[in-house]
Every structure is written in structure tokens, then in C-alpha cells.
Amino acid sequence: MTDTLQTTRLTLRRPVPSDWAAFLDFMMSDRSTAFGSHKDLARAFRSFAAELGHWDIFGYGMWAVTLRGDDTAIGLIGPWTPPDWPEPEVGWMILSDKAEGTGIATEAARAAIRHAYEVLGWPTVVSYIGPENTRSIRLAEKLGANLDPEAPQPKPDAPVLVYRHPRPAGAA
């Protein structure tokens, strides 16, 4: 199983315990208001531990997004498939302000979605996005994803937007 992806500017690698500091900074910042672990230390730890555990269990998971030549995690992007998730997801958290306006998130997400279709062989890929999370909505639209109002909800009591990613051109 591929643990690492390379794009023009980025290395996407399996997250490691030392990424905790970057993850914690994000969860304690105003960037993470759309996420359940926002400003809750114990929940933030559990979320991060589950990111690592997801890799143990499935052999894949969300990658730590790093700039080539700098190992600092600036985002987490990739497959997220807990049981009972109605469809396989590519999720993302952009940890650092530095990624803002650089196209880094787009570049990483494109690689992750292509990987999900081509290497993991998923029949479809969605992203679950909180209705208030405008930055994420913009990214989904930039990626060419379409809002699917008919799609099943991961947590019906707290509905989210379901964006469906088209199969990338040339993908098997």
C-alpha cells in the first residue's frame, strides 16, 4: 500500500505522532470552528489518535500534507472511511494559514481523489462539509464536485452538505 504521494509542490505522507503539535494548534484556533474537536483538548487528542488508528486499521487514511523539503504538516487530506459512513469520503483539514490562497489544498485534494479512484478502486468519492464551512465549500466547488442533495447523510441528526467528486479525466 502506498504511504506517500508526491505532487508538483507537495509530499503527502502518513501522519506520525509528531504531527500532534500542528493538529493541536489548528484545533485550538479559529480555523477549526467547523470541526467537533474545536477548542476541546481531550477531543482533539482523540481525533488525532483516530487519524493514526485509521491507518493501522485500513492501511490507508488521511495524509499529512507537507511542502516538499519541509516536513511540517500544513493539512490533513485523504480517505476517511469509518464503518457506517454511507459512502467513502475524501476529507480535508487545512491546518495552517500559510496554505491559504496558494492552491496547496486543491493540489493535495486532487491527488487524494485520484488516488481514491485509481488505487483504492472506489466507485465514488464524496466530501462531507458543514453547511457553514464556506472555505471548504469553495474548495469542493473548485475541485469540480457537485452538491448531491439526495445522498445519504453520515449523521442524519446533524445534516451536512454532501459534495460528490467526479472521476478525474483519464482515471481507470
Partner: protein, 173 residues
């Protein structure tokens, strides 16, 4: 490298991905539901994912306890210290009613406390126990733990735990 502890009747071993099904059987079962309430499948799953992640992050964590004779898993127990915890804990959970009353929890907990002090070099260790959990309190007392009224407890659904502090019996300082 995986960590394993042997006691006369039990093996405490570091969980891995292949334990997912047996863990989910526990979290989907009656005893878990009675103690922790109904939990949707993703929450049960993330409990297990977090258990594995804790080992990666901290280098220690809770073991699965198996009975040597039958190879069945009867609980998870061990050192626990995630971010947001007031202090280092020895936590225990028995998985089935059948495992109760055989002294297994005592045997496993004694080994876990010893492991924390002797192998991990902890200065002190506590167990956070809800006041109404009499069975768990009896176990803590049998282990020689003493309520520390000055220690900060944890709050679950508005109820604050007692903090039992474990002595370093027989463990060289």
C-alpha cells in the same frame, strides 16, 4: 515492537488492527451498552482507532487482556494519558459478565500498575472512578489504592469521579 505482559492466568497484549472485530463485538454488546450507553457504530469504531493511536503517540496504552486457557479477550486495561487528562491513569474495563468474580481484573490491574511504575517509570498513577461504580471502587481498594481528596477528578455527564491513587507496592523507586 509490541508489548506483552504475562501473569499466571492472563496475557496482556498491545492491540493491533486484527482486534477490530473482537473490540466492536464488545462495544456493541450488552455490558458496554449498560455501562456506557448506546453508541453508534462510528463512535465505537473511533474508540478502537483512538486506542491504537494512543499507543503510537504515547508509546504505551491499554492492553487487551486474554485468558491463557481459552484465548478469549475479557477486557482492556492499562496506562492511559491522553491530552486533557488531569494526570496519568491506570484504566480498566471488563468486557463480559462471565469474566466477573474470578479475580481476573485484580490480576490484570496489579500487572498494569506494576508495569506503569517499573517499566514506564511513572512517579504516580491514579484511577478515575465514578462514585456509583462500586465494583470498580472495590477493585481499586483491593489493589491498595487510596482516595486522594486533593486530586482533580474528571467529569462525566455532570458527575465528578473519585481519584484513587495507587501505591508503589514492591516496585523499586
Amino acid at each position: 515492537m509490541t508489548v506483552t505482559i504475562q501473569t499466571p492466568r492472563l496475557t496482556l497484549r498491545q492491540p493491533d488492527a486484527s482486534d477490530l472485530d473482537v473490540f466492536m463485538a464488545y462495544t456493541g454488546g450488552d455490558r458496554f451498552r449498560r455501562e456506557r450507553g448506546e453508541k453508534p457504530l462510528p463512535d465505537q469504531w473511533s474508540y478502537f482507532a483512538t486506542l491504537l493511536g494512543h499507543w503510537q503517540i504515547c508509546g504505551f496504552g491499554r492492553f487487551l487482556v486474554t485468558v491463557k486457557e481459552t484465548d478469549s479477550v475479557i477486557g482492556h486495561i492499562g496506562p492511559l494519558f491522553p491530552a486533557g487528562w488531569p494526570e496519568r491513569e491506570i484504566a480498566w474495563h471488563l468486557w463480559s459478565d462471565e469474566a466477573v468474580g474470578k479475580g481476573y481484573a485484580f490480576e490484570a490491574a496489579q500487572a498494569a500498575v506494576r508495569h506503569a511504575y517499573a517499566d514506564l517509570g511513572w512517579d504516580t498513577a491514579v484511577s478515575f472512578i465514578l462514585p456509583q461504580n462500586t465494583r470498580s471502587r472495590r477493585l481499586a481498594e483491593r489493589l491498595g489504592a487510596i482516595i486522594d481528596p486533593d486530586a482533580q477528578g474528571m467529569s462525566f455527564d455532570g458527575v465528578t469521579t473519585l481519584v484513587y491513587r495507587h501505591p508503589k507496592h514492591g516496585v523499586a523507586a
